[in-house]
Symmetry: C2
Subunit: 177 residues, 2 copies
DNA sequence: TTATTTAGTTTGTGCCACGTACTAATTTAG
DNA sequence: CTAAATTAGTACGTGGCACAAACTAAATAA
């Protein structure tokens, strides 16, 4: 319940700052919509984009995918179905567990997500250029610290169990809740 | 296309900071999910929540609502239908233009959004308590500045045309794009 | 007045998410 | 080593959400 989730403004005078809740809610919607617009260019929804993003450095089972995306497993079936139908991901039977199915990115899926990620990063750069360089760094740093603290707060996730070895098992924030 | 929209981590060493794009994307999903969880308590979706939030200090037409929420007007019809069916909003025929319909919050809708907003703010407070007080203020300030700059950048929105008079006409960020 | 634009709804399509019910494989008990 | 319980995944039905195209009614422009 955002104080003012969207295009609303209190009756404040010109340069008054937003409340933390308002600011975070609006920022969240802003980033969300930037992501959405980029994804749209490839006819991808946010959740499809997240799916591909997650698969960039993993080959999880359907079940793990559900946990990673914070979805019901029955939702993941359809999600992967649609991505597979478009040739973006593949289902590979697990050799270890004959019940399980591993989901992996296809070449097409990988190139799609790579290009998209690059453009999204460019969007973010451009957005951050609205701030003076020192503020940019400060903001990024603060956000990182907040996310790390939040992950640490609820579980020992974020960078735990991940040493320097490849794709980690730990699941950092964002999926949150 | 988030670099790593969700629960993913690069192969980074323990306390390495996230890239700006990663951080913003993850933060966005985090806030989004906090909002979602609170809304869920009242069986509200994010978009329903945004609808109620927008109506807190406006009584827009369907058309204005579409612009405010960045939706197609045909989408707004259904959105308002569902909210109206639950007694959260009302459709009031406009006296000025007999084609137009004004959408306003009912008492039930208002109390719902007020309570929800309070709880969301509490959630954000709690989240921000993970940072030292000085960092909290710094973060909020930077976010405000970024949002104001962004609004100014694309149009002259944010606090323009709004003096001290009540509910403004300008539509600030968040709806973005 | 006639033609055009504007406000809103209707209809049809597709994605997304959920809960429930089901099959098949695995694991645990006895 | 079977029998029971658990786990992985899918199928199905429901509903919200978003869009585009087609349509009605009112307002505005010609």
């Amino acid at each position: 319940m955002a104080a003012r989730p969207s295009g609303t403004s209190p009756p404040p005078a010109a340069h008054q700052a937003l409340s933390p809740a308002d600011g975070l809610a609006q920022l969240s919607f802003l980033i969300h919509s930037i992501l959405e617009r980029r994804a749209r260019e490839h006819d991808l929804s946010i959740i499809q984009t997240r799916l591909l993003g997650v698969l960039r450095d993993r080959t999880p089972t359907m079940n793990e995918l559900a946990r990673l995306l914070d979805l019901d497993k029955s939702s993941v079936t359809g999600l992967v179905d649609r991505a597979q139908r478009r040739g973006l991901v593949a289902r590979v039977p697990s050799t270890a567990d004959r019940r399980a199915v591993l989901v992996s990115l296809t070449g097409a899926g990988r190139s799609l997500v790579s290009g998209g990620a690059a453009r999204f990063e460019a969007d973010i750069s451009q957005l951050l250029e609205l701030l003076p360089p020192s503020d940019r760094d400060a903001l990024s740093g603060l956000i990182s610290r907040l996310l790390v603290a939040h992950a640490a707060d609820r579980g020992i996730d974020l960078f735990a169990t991940i040493g320097t070895d490849g794709p980690g098992t730990g699941s950092p924030a964002a999926t949150s809740h």
